[in-house]
Every structure is written in structure tokens, then in C-alpha cells.
């Protein structure tokens, strides 16, 4: 898929969100007593690194018209396996996490594609099971990671603003964007998300693509969990629902449609960067947590209401009634 033109919501939404949050970020000194430092940018990118891969994982399944609720379960499992299998050497932990993520993704993708089950209930069940598995592996306790060298390495500042962790995350976004722009997978992914039957008729191997998307989603979420564990030097068996909610908000801000068939990894990148900037603003301006929650709620609420099909058709009807010459099709 080509990076879309700026008129379309999949590009205009993330760009608008990003521009607004950047302006708010730059103006921080005007409404608080704190001056901006390079550390604030570094910190924003650290927040981005924490949730970026989760957003990418969820966003890819949403483009394909599915919804992978299990990403947070895989995220938790990946983080826990990284700590528990990687005490000797970090590579073993990482391998275990990525392997588990791929296995979870293949299993879910296989069930969803072959049996044609809606992805919501399947991934919800997997989410519950994975949280249970993670908790069983750790005995319900937070596990610490003894390898301090790795912990220091992933978060060391690179070029003032970056860390290896945020660079890896950025690199994966770039890789996903390149793969989906340059190969036919991007087009096919949007085709099956928009209209699965038409995609199948057009010769897309729908089943394989869905299995592949869920496998990618599993690997990306597990890697996100791994990087987080390396960074924190510990793994928490229950990350709560907050990461899922924030990732969904970021994906929607990134121009992905709830109906599927729309979106691009670069848009997702814009969405999660906007969310990370917002989180940093909230932290710097010392706004209470609940205010930022209300802000996210308002944002998501607006997106979902604008996206609501019946409201849309009612508005179109209204408009056609007012201006009879207007053709309703062109306004969508």
C-alpha cells in the first residue's frame, strides 16, 4: 500500500493528532513552570517504546478487519518468559518470548482463519488463558531480572534522544511500513479487511494472510513485553487492561478504521507518538492521572461516534434532503 494521500482519514487523523500534541508539547513552558529539556523528548520516546509494539500488533490485525484482544496477554507472557528463561543469557529469554508469541499467534490465526470464527471471542479466551499461564509461571509474583548489564544497555541514551529500545521499536515500525508498502501484502491486508469475500475472489490467499497477521501480532507483542522486562529489570504477571486501552486508542488515532480495511503502519506510528507525547505532557504538567483518563475517554468517544455508521448515514440523509443536487455517495 502506498502512503495514502493527506486528504484521507488514515493520513489526516494521525497527522492532526501529532501536530496538535507537538504544539501542546512545545508550549509546555507557557502553562507550567518547567522548561523543556532534551530529557523530555527522550522520555517521550521511552513511553513510545513501552507501548509502540503493542499498538503495531493490534493495529495490523485491525487493518485486516480483526481485533486481537490477546496482545496484552502475549505481552505479559513474553515479559515473564524473558525474565525466567533469560537468567543465564538474555538471548534465551528473548527466543523463548518470541517463540511463545509466534505459537500463540499461529494457533489463534489458524482457528480464526480455518474455522471462520470471529476473532473477538477467540482472542478474549486466549487473553484470559495467557494471563493465567503467566501468573502460573511466576506464582502470581513479580519476578526480577538479575542481568543488570542488559537493563542498562536497552535504556542508555543514544544520540541524546533515543535509546536502543526506542530505536528497535522505531525500526520495526519502519520495517512494517516498508514491507506493507513495497510488497502486495499491504494491499491484500486492506482488501481482506475491507471486504473479505471480494479479497478472496480477487485471488488473495485469505487464510494464510490472517494466520500470518496474527503470528506477526503475537511476535510483536511478545517482543514488546521482552523489551519492557529488560528495561524494568522485572516482569509483572498482570499488566492490567490499561495497555490494551491505550494501544487501541493509539491505533484508532493512527487512522485505523474499526470496520477494517484502512490504515498504514506510518499512521499507527503517528498515533502512538501522539499518545506518548500526551502522556509526557501529563507527567510534566503534573496533571492528575484521572484527567488524562478523561481526556482519552473523550478522544475515543469522539472517534467512535464519528465512525458510527448509522449516525453517518443519518447525516448523509439529512444533507441530501437539504441539498437535493448533492450526490450522497461522494460525501463518504
Amino acid at each position: 500500500m502506498k502512503p495514502p494521500s493527506f486528504r484521507r482519514p488514515e493520513a489526516s487523523l494521525p497527522v492532526a493528532a501529532l501536530v496538535l500534541t507537538i504544539i501542546a508539547f512545545v508550549l509546555i513552558p507557557t502553562y507550567t513552570d518547567t522548561a523543556l529539556s532534551s530529557f523530555d523528548v527522550y522520555n517521550t520516546l521511552q513511553i513510545f517504546a513501552r507501548l509502540g509494539l503493542l499498538t503495531l500488533a493490534l493495529g495490523l490485525t485491525m487493518i485486516a478487519g480483526e481485533f486481537d484482544l490477546s496482545v496484552v496477554g502475549t505481552y505479559a507472557l513474553g515479559g515473564m518468559l524473558t525474565v525466567q528463561a533469560g537468567q543465564q543469557h538474555w538471548a534465551w529469554g528473548l527466543l523463548a518470548a518470541l517463540g511463545a508469541g509466534a505459537a500463540v499467534g499461529l494457533l489463534q490465526g489458524g482457528l480464526i482463519a480455518r474455522l471462520k470464527i470471529p476473532s473477538m471471542p477467540v482472542t478474549l479466551a486466549t487473553y484470559i488463558a495467557l494471563l493465567g499461564l503467566t501468573s502460573a509461571l511466576s506464582g502470581g509474583l513479580t519476578k526480577t531480572y538479575a542481568n543488570v548489564t542488559v537493563t542498562l544497555w536497552v535504556d542508555q541514551p543514544v544520540l541524546t534522544y533515543f535509546s536502543p529500545r526506542s530505536l528497535i521499536t522505531l525500526g520495526l515500525f519502519a520495517a512494517a511500513a516498508a514491507v506493507l508498502s513495497l510488497s502486495r501484502w499491504g494491499r491484500e491486508l486492506r482488501a481482506i479487511g475491507g471486504d473479505r469475500r471480494a479479497g478472496r475472489v480477487a485471488g488473495v490467499r485469505v487464510d494464510r494472510l490472517i494466520v500470518g497477521t496474527f503470528a506477526a501480532s503475537g511476535v510483536l507483542s511478545a517482543l514488546g513485553g521482552s523489551l519492557l522486562s529488560f528495561s524494568l529489570g522485572s516482569a509483572n504477571p498482570d499488566p492490567g487492561v490499561q495497555p490494551l486501552i491505550v494501544a487501541a486508542a493509539a491505533a484508532l488515532l493512527g487512522g485505523v478504521s474499526l470496520a477494517g480495511g484502512r490504515g498504514h503502519p506510518l499512521g499507527l506510528l503517528g498515533g502512538i507518538l501522539a499518545v506518548a507525547l500526551l502522556a509526557e505532557i501529563v507527567a510534566v504538567a503534573a496533571v492528575p492521572q484521572y484527567v488524562s483518563q478523561l481526556f482519552f475517554a473523550g478522544l475515543l468517544g469522539i472517534i467512535v461516534v464519528i465512525d458510527a455508521p448509522d449516525l453517518h448515514s443519518a447525516l448523509v440523509r439529512q444533507r441530501t434532503r437539504l441539498r437535493p443536487s448533492h450526490h450522497p455517495r461522494t460525501s463518504i
Binding site: I117, P118, L294, A297, L300, D307, P309
Partner: protein
Amino acid sequence: MNVMSAPPRSDAPIRRPGRSRSRAELVIDAVLLLAVLAAIVLALTTHRFATVANAKAILTSASLVGIAALGLTLITIGGSAVSLAISPSVAAVGMIFLSAQSFGLVPALALAVLCGILITGVQGAIVGYAAANPVVLTIAASFAITGIATGVSGGSTVSPTGGGYDRLNATPGGVALSVYVLIGLALIVQWTLRRTGFGRSLYLIGENRRAARAAGLPVGRTTAVAWLAAGALFAVTAAFTAAFNTSANVNLGGTLTFDAIAAVLAGGTPIAGGRGSALRTLAGAVLIAAASDILLLRGSSTGVQILVKGVIVLVVVVLVHLRTEGSRA
């Protein structure tokens, strides 16, 4: 998202009628029968499982999740998939219920139910009239409810302002009051779904929203009413949960959202809507409570109990899907 709210996929291959279908159904039935037999054997060989005291324990632990799951059943049957805002709604209503105790038990209960109806009803109206995506809308709502509850309470824990709530913890005949309430409400919901015009239109809207609209059914209003009723049922859960804990904060709901969804799905109600029943949800809640109970008696950790809950939901979802697809083709 089409997968969550849309009618069954139209790209399902056309199955040959006759032998192959019935064979598939036979296999599914055999698998189910074996699973049930294995569960019974496992249960009976578990020490202290088949006792009256344990049966009471299972029912009590199923009752709170069960009442909320009955509300969710209405939402799911009507084709609005699930609400992900159950826990925060229950927490907020629980806090209101306890802080209104100084007015007495009945006014506090009435206020709680009213607030529950309001909180969930607003979401239902948006889903019903605008066809907004229920999953994302309720994600937003969960943020909003938690945010407002934290802001209003200052993040502190609410203590009861009177002692009336303790009557909800009564155990008439040695069984918790919430169990009687669960069974009574399940029968009422079941009757409403099967015997009233509202119930029948809800099934049709869940099965095919466009057809229901074309048939002239009040799609928006029926959906909104289903959510209102769900809000009332969430409020009943909230009152019992708050009374049991004797205090309430924004974390009162705990994992209730996913427990309720698990109960609905484990009962065999498909998430796409148009099918299912209150009694199925009741069975699902008891099934999960019984499975957790067996694992607890056998000394498994909390993690293993959650894991098994997830696997049960997954297996039931797959089996129900295969059966409905089989009989539909």
C-alpha cells in the same frame, strides 16, 4: 468492526447437506459428552467436592458474576457484542450505594439501580441509535467512569454511611441471598427474552440488524432498553459486591468484566448475537465456578484457575461456532 457486530461471515463455504454435516455434529457431541464425563469423574474423585457445603460455595461464587453476566447476555443477544465497562460501572455504583447508606437500604438500592441504568443506558443509546462500535465505546466509557469516580472520590475508599447494607449479606436457609437473587433474575430475564415482544425483537436485531430495521422494528430503542436493563443488573451486582466488601473504591469491580464475558461465552451464547439465553449464562457461570472450585480443592494456584477458565471459554466458543455453522449451512 465487522467481526464483532456483523452477522455471520458471508464467505463461509457452502456445506454439502446431509451426511457430512451430521457426522461433524456427531463428533462435536461425542467430544462434548466425553468432556462432561471426564469433568464429572474428576469432580467426584476430588476430595470434598460432592458435599452440600461445597455446592453452596460454588453457587455463592457464581452468583455475583452471574448477575452481571445476565445483563451482559441481553447486550450480547441484541448484537452489541460485549461491554468492556462492567468493572468500572460496578465500582462506581458500589461507591454510590455505600455512600447513600444513610438514607436506608431501599433508597440506596433504588439510587444505585438508577445510576447503573443511567451509566450503561447512555452507552446503549449511542450503540442503539448511532450503531457505534460497542467494544471501543465501552473502552472509552471505562476510562470515563474510572476517571470521574477517581476525581469525585479523590481516589479514596468509600466507607458505608449506615448499616443497612448488611442485610444483603444475609444467608436465608444457609444460602447467600445473592444466590436467590441470581436464580430469580435469571428466570425473569429468560421469561422476558422468550415471552415478550421486546425479547423477540432483541433476538431479531442481534441476528440481522438490517432486516430488523427493514421490518420496522425500533432498533435503536430496543438496543437502548437492553443496555438499560443490563445497567440495572450491573447495579445489583455492585450492591452485593460492595455490601460483601463493606467498602468500595475504583478497583471494586476487579476482573468482573472478563469473568462476566467468560460466563456468557462459556454458556454457549455466540458473540455475534441473535442466539443464547439467560439460562445458558447461568449454566456458564456455574460451570466456571465449579471448574475453579475443583482446581482450588486440588490445590492449584490462582494462575492455573485463570488458565483453565480461558481454555474452557476457548473450547466452548469453538464448539458452539462449529455447531451453529453446521446447522445453519
